[in-house]
């Protein structure tokens, strides 16, 4: 039984990628009033989706990353750090489903998400 269990675990590591989950809590200052959830991107190979939502936690920007490619922690730290330096959002939650996008693609998607989030929050944008 135990040998069977060990074999099963080894196969899992070889064949299946290990997802990596990263969680960031950043102090921001730019709140976006009357914001609605926005999603950009597609979880295709080399791509990612970014969901950005208003959240109740006041001055914080929370970022959750689920990535299919483990082991790039320092790169994510840099990309998320730069993203926060650019926007300093507060009271938002950003969730990422990543399927191996490059850092440049991630940065562009994050900026795209913020642009849509801000545009959708404008009073004249409501249908």
């Amino acid at each position: 039984m135990m040998r069977g269990g060990v074999v099963l675990r080894c196969i899992k590591r070889w064949i299946l990628p290990d997802m990596e989950h990263r969680h960031y809590q950043l102090t921001g200052r730019r709140a976006v009033v009357s914001a609605r959830p926005c999603i950009v991107g597609v979880v295709a190979s080399g791509n990612l989706e970014v969901l950005i939502e208003p959240a109740a936690q006041g001055g914080t920007c929370i970022v959750d990353v689920d990535t299919a490619m483990a082991g790039f922690g320092s790169v994510w730290d840099a990309v998320i750090g730069d993203f926060h330096d650019r926007h300093r959002l507060a009271g938002v939650r950003v969730a990422i489903n990543d399927n191996g996008a490059t850092p440049a693609t991630v940065s562009l998607r994050l900026d795209q998400a913020v642009a849509e989030f801000v545009a959708a929050a404008r009073p004249d944008s409501r249908a």
């Binding site: 899992k12 997802m19 249908a127």
Partner: protein
């Protein structure tokens, strides 16, 4: 200015097909209704499990709409994805919209989810037929990179009408599957001309498997879907028997022919080799006299 339907995302297609600003999504990404099976397999999920469903307006009439995202797992149908489609189509019986509109892009059952995906596809089939039986048209559009294959092709063939572009493909077994199972002499999946004359939009139109052929343009798809909704035929014993008669005629007339060009010649095309290169308008004009009776 043309906007490519082929290049658009599922969300982009919904926005372009429906009346501006009319779309309200059910189970949006923020609800995070994701696939438990992919999570168990340590694979990335999508917040909408690769399908957008909701309510909107089409030329002022209420419709329920679904759009599959080919970019996520080839639009393949898993348990959640299938349940969203089934729930949407079944909802029509309560809400009585003018139609259910399905913007299809799928390889069929999501194999990672095995039986849950299979059951999902079969439930979609049943929902389409039940909603059509209730008098509500279910119309489909096919024009994306991944086409419509697998079990979902059977489901979509149960729709009131299908709109395709030349770029779209509708078939059951995918080209690579046929080649793997039967050998390259039987079907060379890398021969794109062969693939498209076997399952592509123009051939499907000539066979009567799709009601309309349009340019790769979101606005053209919108106009065609509006027309298909307006002209939708109710599901009845007579309509089913008519379809069976059409299929019997197809076997009798073309069952012994090896290649689509032979079929086109039999339908009256003088130069079958020229068909793939014809611009849409010219193709449609000539097809009026050289098309299988749908």
């Amino acid at each position: 200015m043309k906007k490519s339907y082929y290049e658009a995302t599922a969300r982009g297609r919904v926005a372009g097909i429906l009346d501006a600003g009319s779309f309200r999504e059910f189970l949006p990404p923020s609800a995070r209704v994701v696939s438990p099976h992919l999570q168990a397999l340590d694979l990335p999920v999508a917040f909408d499990d690769g399908v957008v469903v909701g309510r909107g307006q089409l030329a002022g009439n209420a419709v329920l709409v679904a759009a599959q995202e080919g970019g996520f797992m080839g639009g393949a149908v898993g348990e959640v994805h299938g349940a969203k489609l089934t729930g949407l189509i079944a909802r029509a019986e309560r809400e009585a919209p003018a139609a259910v509109v399905l913007l299809v892009e799928t390889g069929g059952v999501r194999l990672q989810e095995a039986n849950a995906g299979l059951i999902g596809v079969s439930e979609v089939m049943r929902a389409i037929l039940a909603t059509r039986s209730a008098g509500i048209p279910v119309v489909a559009a096919i024009g994306g990179q991944y086409g419509c294959f697998g079990g979902m092709s059977i489901a979509i063939a149960c729709c009131s009408a299908i709109v395709m572009s030349e770029e779209g493909r509708l078939g059951l077994s995918g080209p690579e599957v046929i080649e793997t199972a039967r050998g390259v002499e039987e079907f060379d999946s890398r021969d794109r001309a062969l693939v498209w004359r076997t399952v592509g939009g123009k051939h499907r139109y000539l066979m009567g498997d799709c009601a309309q052929l349009v340019d790769d343009d979101v606005a053209a798809f919108r106009a065609a879907l509006i027309e298909s909704v307006a002209n939708a035929e109710p599901l009845s014993m007579a309509s089913v028997e008519r379809e069976h008669a059409m299929l019997a005629r197809r076997m009798a007339d073309h069952g012994n022919l090896d290649d689509a060009r032979d079929i086109w010649r039999a339908l009256g095309w003088q130069d079958p080799d020229a068909v793939p290169m014809l611009p849409t308008a010219m193709f449609l004009a000539q097809a009026a006299a050289a098309r299988a009776n749908p």
